[in-house]
Symmetry: C2
Subunit: 357 residues, 2 copies
């Protein structure tokens, strides 16, 4: 058993974006200090963290000093360079652990891991070159989607293949990076389970949320999701199996396609997840605090949903709607303190309490 | 009409305790930066604020630099020296305004203000010396309580007078400071209204909470409070009258005694208030965000209560109970990041969601 960290201990957070920011606020609520490591200047998390280190993931000295100043290390994104993780782990524990990062950093490894667990995924095949792509298209057919195996997010590093004519252009988009071809799944909607596993092995899941994407970016998440009772239980159980198999400690986002034949795992993210932001206004303990509890060895909190909530992301020019959103009844605004508005940039979100639970 | 501050603007907060800390977190939720001014080292608010100035209220240069770096100034406590306010106000607006501070910094001025509004208060008389105390006791009788007119909080600067024999000792406790003698009120319980007034004059009140004190310190606040329907409306209306009369902008705590003959105003605090902490887990917009909205010229938010909540303060050695509280269902912990536990020191609070609203 992990000895729980006491209030006053310092949590190191890799990444200073909005997820690091909301993790930092949740940590402070439990009396913890936070220290954010982020290569970019003036990160959103830096506005609310106790300390910030501005340095690159190749700066071994900065990484070591950062690790030495904290009691445990966690992260807001999964694409942390392996060498940086090696340096950090020599000093302090990283939670969630390396195995979860190894699996989720590579779409192909992730798919294989899920299949080995007996879970359903979209059809897929590895693609390293033009020949491999054609073989994969023979197997999977079109339409399909070609994705880089590593470093993709929010629809980046992806190319849709409607017919064989698109194949060459799609491969060009990968810029020589190893890729994976995924077949389309005929799903009615997407849900996600925000699951948590404590250092004692206890698993707790928030109520599944129903996601709507636009242009590859999450637009809204609504709870409760449309799910039959048995599917709701399936969703929670399969999320639990994933966390157990990885000996996972922390919060994970598990995206699922709902099909007439059952649930298909789209992808997993070993961190707090955009589709879990509704928990801030729907539960006594939200996903950010749940993650902090797990990585500090605390017992998991009670994530029972007390209200129906619809979360809407505020993206780019949605910021122009803030004055109007500020007047809306039963709406809780969460802005990320980003200085510059850019198209496609997540600037904040609003949680609408639709009905008491 | 005040032009609302845009996200990215900086709010100056005088005082770095737990109220400043929770104000800072609420401000960040709306995308604001915060700058905390606090004489003491390593203030709790400093862990979550963007900037901290450590300087005394007599440091005119530090005050001017602080004021120059922010867009609006607010505070977590009412006993700010007048000279400091003069310096600050030469640079930036202070909200809530000076009139609310003038009234609430002096118990006698406050009582007179309330009486002039036609509101009921405990019987009181000014006491400057032994002769005055005896005259006051003739008028009010015993038991009564002698309080310094200024700088009292959490039961400090107060002496109970059960009989005339206690008078001399009570006066000694005042150490020569101007005082006020207050008669006891036969009340069944105490409630408080957390009221907000925006820069547009709109008033919104959170549902009244019922307070239990121990040793002069708030122990618990429960919502809903035991109040007849007409009393509930009376409570909200009289709070609104106080805020209107002061042309108030921000959140105010109004403590009321409930008696068979009606509501009696105990005291007002021109700031967020311990008895409003329940709003963090009972409403879409809590008292801290409501205050930030008011002082930045935003519209007030929706403070509708979605759940029944009991807030319990964690005082001194209550911190030993944190491991057990962390395991309690439907309990939301809020710790203040104070390094040292002291008897009587407010270390945190827990909001228990008793029932969905």
């Amino acid at each position: 058993m992990t000895v729980p960290l006491s209030p006053g201990a310092t949590i190191g957070i890799l990444g200073g974006g909005q997820l690091g920011r909301m993790l930092s606020v949740a940590a402070s609520r439990l009396g913890f200090m936070t220290h954010v490591f982020e290569p970019g200047a003036a990160p959103p998390a830096g506005q609310v963290a106790h300390r910030v280190t501005t340095a690159g993931y190749d700066d071994t000295a900065a990484l070591a000093a950062f690790a030495g100043s904290v009691d445990v290390i966690t992260y807001e994104f999964e694409n942390i360079p392996t060498a940086a993780l090696d340096t950090l782990e020599a000093h302090r524990p990283i939670r969630p652990g390396r195995e979860a990062l190894r699996v989720s950093q590579d779409r192909l490894t992730e798919k294989r891991f899920l299949r080995d667990l007996g879970l359903a995924t979209a059809p897929y095949a590895a693609v390293d070159d033009a020949e491999g792509l054609h073989a994969a298209l023979d197997e999977i057919g079109t339409p399909a989607i070609l994705k880089t195996r590593r470093f993709g997010y929010d629809g980046k590093g992806q190319a849709r293949i409607t017919s064989r004519d698109d194949a060459a252009a799609a491969l060009d988009d990968m810029a020589g990076a190893p890729a994976i071809l995924e077949g389309f799944v005929a799903f009615s909607h997407e849900v996600s389970v925000i699951a948590a596993r404590g250092s004692d092995g206890q698993v707790a899941c928030f109520d599944p949320g129903e996601n709507v994407h636009e242009g590859g970016i999450l637009r809204t998440t609504a709870v409760p999701a449309r799910l039959a009772g048995s599917q709701r239980m399936d969703a929670v159980l399969l999320a639990g199996r994933i966390l157990n198999a990885l000996d996972y400690v922390g919060v994970m986002g598990v995206e699922l396609f709902v099909t007439p034949k059952g649930l298909i795992v789209n992808e997993i993210a070993p961190r707090v997840h955009n589709s879990g932001h509704w928990t801030q206004n729907g539960c006594a303990v939200d996903q950010f605090e749940q993650h902090i509890r797990a990585v500090t060895g605390w017992p998991l909190g009670d994530g029972t949903r007390h209200s129906d909530v619809v979360m809407e992301n505020l993206i780019g020019a949605d910021m122009d709607r803030v004055p109007e959103l500020a007047r809306e009844p039963r709406a809780a605004l969460h802005l990320y303190g980003k200085a510059e508005v850019k198209p496609g940039r997540k600037m904040g979100h609003v949680n609408r309490i639709v009905q008491d639970g």
